[in-house]
């Protein structure tokens, strides 16, 4: 545990464990902190309400300067989520900022279920 990325991921995990956003949980694999598993509950008043969705997050050593790769494990029917589970979300691509942490990423993914963006 020595690189900046790993240090930061431990911090992210601590924050997520101590102050989790509603309907979101996640944790790194005990044997590999660069790959996380997460579960998101569908936001209320959407077709996804009452559903629980599984995701993986894959980090590189360049985190937080580069975003993680987020993939849905659950099969999703959503205009911004591709067949292979990868998603099209601006903050995970060109609008990424190193100030985001895992809690912020998962919250954004949850709100993507809330307002799909078909034009992208």
């Amino acid at each position: 545990m020595s690189t900046a990325a790993k240090r930061r991921l431990i911090r992210d995990f601590k924050r997520l464990a101590s102050d989790p956003p509603i309907g979101i949980s996640g944790s790194p694999n005990p044997d590999n902190i660069m790959i996380w598993n997460a579960v998101i509950f569908g936001p209320p008043d959407t077709p996804f309400e009452d559903g629980s969705f599984r995701l993986t997050l894959t980090f590189t050593d360049a985190y937080p300067n580069k975003p993680p790769t987020v993939r849905f494990v659950s099969k999703m029917f959503h205009p911004n989520i591709y067949n292979n589970g990868e998603l099209c979300l601006d903050i995970l691509q060109n609008r990424w900022s190193p100030t985001y942490d895992v809690a912020a990423v998962l919250t954004s993914v949850q709100s993507l279920l809330n307002d799909p963006n078909p034009s992208r």
Binding site: D12, S52, S74
Partner: protein, 372 residues
């Protein structure tokens, strides 16, 4: 919660204890000295053109990827990075004051129940005492002896407690006593003792040290100050040349030989292919240049060790096939296999949210339908 015994959480124990929720002001203060990138207290803080501040190492690393402010997305150049000395002083001072404030913020235990609960009053008093702390620390660091500093710390904590107790027990008595102009008072800024009449003029002049104190403290400081001036003209110059920022090479244009030259110049390993070499040079320049933005820099050998350790850790991960697992997730089959293997893990996460929601709502919540 289940998560509390996750093996990786145990690694995060170096974090200091948080302030209780009854002190939102202190929590806010605590948050305000945290770098938005690494989420740790600033180390070698710098500011950029838009006014946002980061650790030097963090923002330099971020600018290798994109030349935008991580907070406001405004375009910035590396040339606009400026060392923020005030912020460094604040971070250091806060770091030092924090343990005593944590103690003060804990609810009083046992027999001293007669005292009012440490709500606004004691809270204000602890905040008022902050300038004292900082001032004393300043005088300590000016004398430039680390041993003195640490003994000062010790006294500080003791005095700190004493003074806050005094304020709590006898504020009324002081109020009722009639004070005359010639009684001794304490300057609210530098807390020096002097006749009350002369305090306004003393503040007007920017709190010069009073004569009595000067004999003991002042002359010593003056000597140190003069030393600094002369050192700056003589020895310091030479050192500056050696500790000059490294100018970044153009990684596309420079050959392996150029990169090796830079590395050997700084006493680093020169093995590996071009990609490894330029990554190493890049990391070294970030580490080296960031190290110049602090008043307590690390030694070059410590920096070298840090670079080697990070590289070794990456290599270990590669050898253990950790990267391959990430690649595996890119294919559909790999993902299906992974999902099957970690089924229990996802189930645990799902249950965790449900338990949490139950606690939040206080009532039974519908069981969400699991989607495969």
């Amino acid at each position: 919660m289940d998560m509390s015994n996750h093996p990786l959480l145990a690694l995060a124990t170096d974090e200091p204890p948080p302030f209780p929720a009854s002190y939102p002001q202190l929590q806010r203060l605590d948050r305000s000295i945290v770098c938005p990138i690494c989420k740790e207290p600033f180390s070698a803080p710098v500011s950029i053109a838009c006014g946002h501040s980061f650790c030097s190492h963090c923002i330099r690393g971020s600018m290798e990827v994109t030349k935008k402010c991580p907070v406001c997305h405004e375009s910035v150049s590396e040339g606009s990075i400026r060392r923020n000395r005030a912020l460094e002083e604040i971070t250091d001072a806060w770091d030092e004051a924090r343990p005593s404030l944590i103690k003060l913020s804990q609810p009083p235990a046992g027999p001293s129940r007669k005292r009012p609960p440490p709500q606004p009053i004691s809270n204000d008093s602890s905040l008022n005492s902050l300038p004292h702390l900082k001032r004393r620390r300043d005088s300590g660091s000016r004398s430039q002896s680390p041993t003195k500093l640490s003994t000062n710390n010790h006294n500080e904590a003791v005095e700190f407690f004493g003074s806050s107790e005094e304020e709590e027990t006898s504020p009324r008595e002081n109020d009722t006593e009639e004070l005359t102009e010639h009684d001794e008072g304490t300057c609210p800024i530098c807390s020096a003792k002097m006749p009350i009449v002369s305090i306004p003029m003393h503040i007007e002049r920017g709190c010069p040290p009073i004569k009595a104190a000067k004999k003991v403290n002042g002359s010593g400081n003056q000597k140190a100050d003069w030393k600094k001036v002369f050192a700056g003209a003589g020895k310091g110059r030479e050192k500056d040349v050696e500790m000059k920022r490294i100018v970044k090479p153009n990684y596309h244009l420079s050959s392996e030989k150029d990169l090796r030259n830079i590395l050997s110049e700084h006493g680093l390993v020169t093995t590996g292919d071009k990609e490894t070499l330029s990554a190493r040079v890049q990391q070294w320049i970030i580490l080296f240049n960031a190290n110049l933005d602090t008043s307590h820099p690390k030694s070059l050998s410590a920096l070298r060790a840090q670079l080697t350790e990070a590289e070794a850790s990456r290599k270990r991960d590669k050898e253990r096939g950790k990267e391959e697992l990430g690649k595996e997730l890119e294919t559909k089959e790999g993902m299906a296999k992974y999902a099957k293997e970690r089924r229990g893990e996802f189930e645990r996460l799902r249950k965790e949210i449900m338990e949490r929601d139950k606690r939040r709502a206080g009532a039974a919540v519908d069981t969400p339908i699991e989607v495969d």
